[in-house]
């Protein structure tokens, strides 16, 4: 049972990490990007190519991945999202779905469908304590997810840019009126969110092996976790991810394991029924 809880924290931290970038972008720009997983995967692949081609220490390749993620996010915002945003929210989201396919197929075209091992930044060892075991990589993922959640929340709360970013979803027109540069802020949100996604890609790849399909299933869970946490709460995404992981893994100790995914969504369904804004979400008020 204890091991199931630990497994749940480990698995859930992966969802949480992937959800963080998603939630950040969604919170500021109100766009739920289905391409987020592929951006993460693409960044992981870029890091891998750089590592293979230059033989530099892997940490350098990781930094390059994060930069690549940010650049990719900027490119998406500038080239695609900005043009579509005037057509409404639904159109924008569907466009991100299209981007999912474009980026996914680009990855296959560039790097091929091969499955490769990926270096684990937090090492390959198993940490044992109190009768349970967890991999060092998973500990790293939990810690990173936690730190990023706190850092992003603090950034939004206590920096000038963060304040400006928060103003946009609150009152877009008002933000423009008081002189905020919406274009630049929107780009900033996408850059940061995608860079966080890149970080997730690099940390998750060692666990799933690097391949073009690696982010398919995790992204769906990341969305579920984002919804659970409240779609715009960073801490909510972190807590929601861990919570979901634990519930999934504990429940299948008692019921058949193939129901694991179904439990996850069933649980979220119940939570949202009781608390539509999610566990940590903010209720949005519109003045009428």
């Amino acid at each position: 049972m204890d091991q199931a809880v630990i497994n749940g924290l480990a698995e859930g931290s992966v969802y949480a990490l992937l959800a963080l970038g998603l939630v950040f972008i969604n919170r500021i720009t109100q766009v739920a990007t289905f391409a987020h997983g592929e951006v993460a995967a693409c960044a992981a692949f870029i890091g891998f190519s750089i590592f293979q081609a230059t033989g530099m220490p892997f940490v350098v390749a990781v930094l390059c991945s994060i930069v690549a993620g940010g650049v990719l996010g900027y490119a998406i915002e500038r080239i695609v999202i900005r043009r579509v945003q005037t057509s409404g929210l639904l159109a924008t989201i569907i466009v991100t779905l299209g981007l999912y396919f474009v980026i996914h197929n680009a990855i296959v075209a560039i790097w091929g469908p091969e499955v490769r091992p990926y270096p684990a930044i937090f090492g390959d060892t198993t940490v044992r304590f109190a009768g349970v075991a967890i991999s060092s990589q998973h500990i790293g993922v939990i810690a990173t997810a936690f730190l990023i959640a706190i850092a992003l929340a603090a950034y939004l709360r206590w920096t000038r840019t963060g304040l400006a970013l928060r103003a946009i979803p609150q009152n877009r027109y008002g933000a423009e009126v008081i002189g905020l540069n919406l274009r630049r802020l929107s780009a900033t949100a996408w850059i940061i969110g995608s860079a966080v996604g890149a970080m997730a890609g690099v940390l998750i790849a060692p666990l799933t092996f690097l391949n073009s399909n690696m982010m398919g299933a995790p992204l769906i869970k990341a969305f579920a976790v984002a919804a659970l946490g409240g779609l715009d709460s960073l801490v909510g995404a972190f807590v929601g991810g861990l919570l979901l992981g634990v519930i999934e893994n504990v429940m299948v100790v008692y019921i058949p394991t193939y129901l694991k995914d179904s439990i996850a969504f069933f649980f979220i369904f119940i939570v949202l029924l009781v608390q539509p804004k999610g566990l940590f979400g903010r209720v949005r008020m519109e003045k009428v």
Partner: protein, 392 residues
Amino acid sequence: MKQNKKLQSAVAAAALMLGAVQMSGGALAQGVTDKTVKIGAYDALTGPIPLTGKQMNAGWQAALLAINDAGGINGRKLELLVEDDGYEPSRAMAAARKLVDRDQVLLVTGLGTPSTVVAAKYLEQANVPLLFPMGASSTQLNEAGLKQLFMVHPAYLTQAQIIVGWMIDHAGVKKPCLIYQEDPAGEDHLAGAKAAVAARGMQLTAAEAFERGTTDFSAQVLKTKGAGCDMIYTAATLEAAARMVTAADRIGFKPKFAGFTTQADSTLIKLLGPLAEGFYAADILPQPDADDPAVKTFLANLKKSAPDIEPTFFTTYAYAAMMLIGDAIRDAGDNPTRASVVAALEKWNPHNSPLLGPIYFSKTNHDGKRSVYMIQVTDGKWNKVSDWIEPK
């Protein structure tokens, strides 16, 4: 009466033309011309298993190159048309249709159990041979008594039966378990595993399922640990099997692992490194480093055709299968037709494939290979640990 005359001339002209065609020596079958034979394949080049699709295509192309470089089949070059179906049954159906109706191929091959199930039904109705696809759901294919389908890859049910049985008989397994994908292929593996234990008066200690696409197997592995399993049969893709091994290692669980033919691949060792040590698998093809002239020829042809492709299980299988297709067309005679291909195959009793060994077909049996042999990773390499085994 002018119109009548025009009509008469037209009819006469048509009759003359028809006569001319008849006199040219008899029409050749669909897909066959004087210089070429066209065959088709449905493949999963995009979607969930693009690597397998790529490897199958590479194997087919390498064999094609080998056949055509040696002069073709009875003076005709072989031409392969590959349609991508993304591993989706509906697209597989469309692909098969296109190959037959539009491209008019002589016969078809392909990849993927769900795709094959669907394509086989259509090709049966269209009377087009479906030769040696990679996809082995026995309950839906081999047992359906299809006249156009010929298989040389042992069905998953057969494999599971052999592997689980052998592990109990020869590897000291007392608490056999399996982790299987929740789909018809996985169900086949489960049925085979059940048959093996039942034949020995035992029961499966645990059978955990998972949805396709699962990347984290901690839950399944934890359950098998709790049940006390001493062996896990990995009824999943190679990557999934590798993830099961890493998941078990993480929680300090060290059962014997055994996989089927798709895991008999150097990629498993590449992904797992030292963790691969001791992994058992079933195989039907020689390993790429075998001291076997047929293997050396295959490797040379693969290098010529696609120098950057590794000789993996799927590549080797596809190559062997395409060479067999060449043999079938050759045995069908100077003017091969779909019917003569089927008739030729049903006389293979056995026909020897340099890579796959003896293949047995008859009018009532199209399941050409019902045995495998076991290999195991020792010292970082695959080594043979048994002879050919039939299901018991």
